[in-house]
Structures are given as C-alpha cells and as structure tokens.
Symmetry: C2
C-alpha cells in the first residue's frame, strides 16, 4: 500500500533561511512536492507562471474561492494569495509530502482545516544571527531590518502552535533533520487513524475466527 503524503506547512521569520531550506529539501529527496501559490498580483520581471506563482485575474481567483478550490487564501496589499487544492491533493495521493511555505495566519488556518498537517516553524540559531543574515542581504535599509525584527517579535508568539521547530544553523544538517522530522510526523496516532481502526476491528473479530 502506498503511504499517503503529508501536508507540510513551513513558516518562519524573514531571514530564517526557510526558502533555501525548502528548495534543498524538495531537491534532495524525491518524496516532496513544493506547492505553488495562486495570486492576483502582477508578475515581477523574471517570475514565471506556474513556478513562482500562478498569476490569475481577480475574477478567476474569486471563482476558485467559490468552487472551494483553495486550501487557504488571504488578501495582502490588495492582492489575493492562495493555495490551490487540486495540486496538493493529487501529489499527496501519489505519496508526496506537499510543502506549503506560507504566512503564519495562513498556516494556522490550514491546521484548523487539516489537523493532520505538519506545521514547522523555522528559527535562526539566535537573534544575533538573524540580524546578521538580514544585514548581509545588503539590499535592506536599516529601517526595513528594524521592521522585520519587530515583525519577528510578534510572530514569535505563535511558535507554540506549531508541531515542530526547526533551528536552521547549518544547511546540510538542517535539511537532513527536517526530512527526518517529517518522516517521524507520519507516525502520530492522528495520522494513522485507518491503520489503528483496522487493528481495533481485527482485535474484536479476526483472531476469533480462522487462524
């Protein structure tokens, strides 16, 4: 029997390195698929439809909402962002773990709707290191960095609602650790209801019959 994949929801502070981690995870192991979000915002130079995002019109997006075709969606700076359901379900049925890299509010909404989703919060090894990484990007003015740190401070309050934290110190090690976290998550009772129900049923009936 093919093991069904899990829905893996990854969030983390800007500068936590979660993007790199996700690219490596989905590249290094073949049982992952990265979900591509749908948005109504215009593509930026270099962005490709179906790679960075599925770029659609407001009308198309609202139709998707009506059809219950999105796992979650949100409005951000007057644009819609959402996770198309079809791709996610298709990949999970194939046994792939589908990775959603989304904002905290979206992540918590997904968990409400899919309690078996695995929520992972990526953290830097320290706040000093977080600051250093934001600074190193070089493109950000000091006031932008300050904003991000403030935002991280608020986001930190939701860490307890995630299933796992992932301390992203060294990429090679972190990718391996992340993979084994996700493998382990397959073995909670809540993610094996069918198997457990089978064992219970058989304990009631099967062994009393033909051995």
């Amino acid at each position: 029997m093919k093991k069904r994949g899990l829905l893996i929801v990854v969030s983390g502070f800007a500068g936590s390195g979660k993007g790199t981690l996700m690219k490596r995870l989905t590249g290094d192991y073949d049982n992952y698929a990265l979900s591509v979000s749908m948005t109504t915002r215009k593509p930026r130079p270099g962005e490709v439809h179906g790679r960075e995002y599925f770029f659609v019109t407001k009308e198309e997006f609202e139709q998707k909402i009506q059809d219950d075709g999105l796992i979650e969606y949100a409005v951000y700076v007057e644009n819609y962002y959402g996770t198309p359901r079809a791709y996610v379900e298709e990949q999970m049925a194939k046994g792939k773990n589908v990775v959603l890299e989304i904002e905290i509010q979206g992540a918590l909404k997904v968990k409400e709707r899919f309690p078996e989703a695995v929520l992972i919060f990526v953290l830097p090894p320290s706040v000093k290191e977080l600051y250093r990484r934001l600074k190193e990007r070089g493109t950000e003015a000091e006031d932008v960095i300050e904003k991000r740190m403030h935002r991280a401070e608020k986001e930190a309050d939701t860490i307890d609602r995630y299933d796992y934290i992932m301390i992203n110190d060294e990429v090679e090690e972190s990718v391996k650790r992340l993979h084994s976290l996700i493998e382990a998550a397959h073995f909670t009772p809540g993610r094996n209801e069918e198997f457990i129900r089978g064992i219970k049923d058989d304990l009631r009936t099967l062994w009393k019959g033909d051995h």
Copy 2:
C-alpha cells in the same frame, strides 16, 4: 551546550516485540539509558538485582514513595512496582534519553506529570501477526493467548493518547525508525521552551542594543 535527554515511555501489547526493540535501541545507540524498575516481588531464578529490577522490601518501597523518590508506581498482584526518580534525572541531565518500558496506566500517569515525556505505543504490523508471535513463543496455552488478545483489545483504546505509534514489522528497520522518532521529538515547541523564551527575549531587547 549539552542537550538534555528525554523521558521515553514505551508501551505495547504483549507480543508486540517491544522488549527486543528496547534492548536493540539502547544497545545500538549510545545516547540511551534503560530505566530499571523497583519492585517488592521476589527475584525469580536468574534475575539480578539492578538488572531486571531493584528488589526491595515493602518498607523500603513505601519509604521511597514518601520521599517522592519514584516517578510513578503501581500495585500489581499485591506487589509494588515503580520507577526510581534519581537514576532517570541523572541520566537525562547527562543527555541520555531514558527509556521506561511500562504499562499503559503508568505511562499515562507519567505523561500527566511530565508533559514533555515522549509516549510511544508499539504495535504489531497486524493482528494476525500478533497472534502468530504469541503462538510461536510456544510456552503459552491457547486460553492464555486468548486472554492476551482480549487485553490488547482493551489497551488499543488508549493508543490515541500516545505521541507516536511504532509499527514493529522488521527489527532492523524498526530500531532505526524508533531512534529517528525520538530524535524528532526533541524538536517540538514544548520541549524547547527555554530556547524559544531566549529568542523571544532577545527579539525584544538584544538587537536594539549593540550590533
């Protein structure tokens, strides 16, 4: 900083193979210690004080209870059985994961008192296989096997209260999987309160100071 070990509580049906699994786990990896229970029952031929059990008198056991020297204890067929606290704490402080192989009632008591304990329920791949294993032991009469199956039926109702299930199909694979389950369990928010508190504090204060 030395990572503190975890309290690992393992339960499972008679015939699930949990004993073998625990011996292999604590033998194959060096970051485990197997807790030895204390009991007032008499040693059986071949049993060694400090290996199978710490054999003590009723008075000694009751003194231990009074001194809060046991993590959990129970009475079974007029004898006391319990888990001495000192050894467990000492090993965990050294970074060892301490494995308790105990009954379900004891396991749930431990979880109440130590919410950060990792509860693992070992299951056979199928009920047919469970029956086959009990039969294969050869020492058990059919009515004893029947009793065990009945007991398993009741025990199955508590599976949902465990953190993980462990399907014990093939020992080599199962031991590895068990180890990686336990490694993963280190990374829940509840088992990293200190680290998370540190990050939160630093986000409030540190980065605003000296960079």
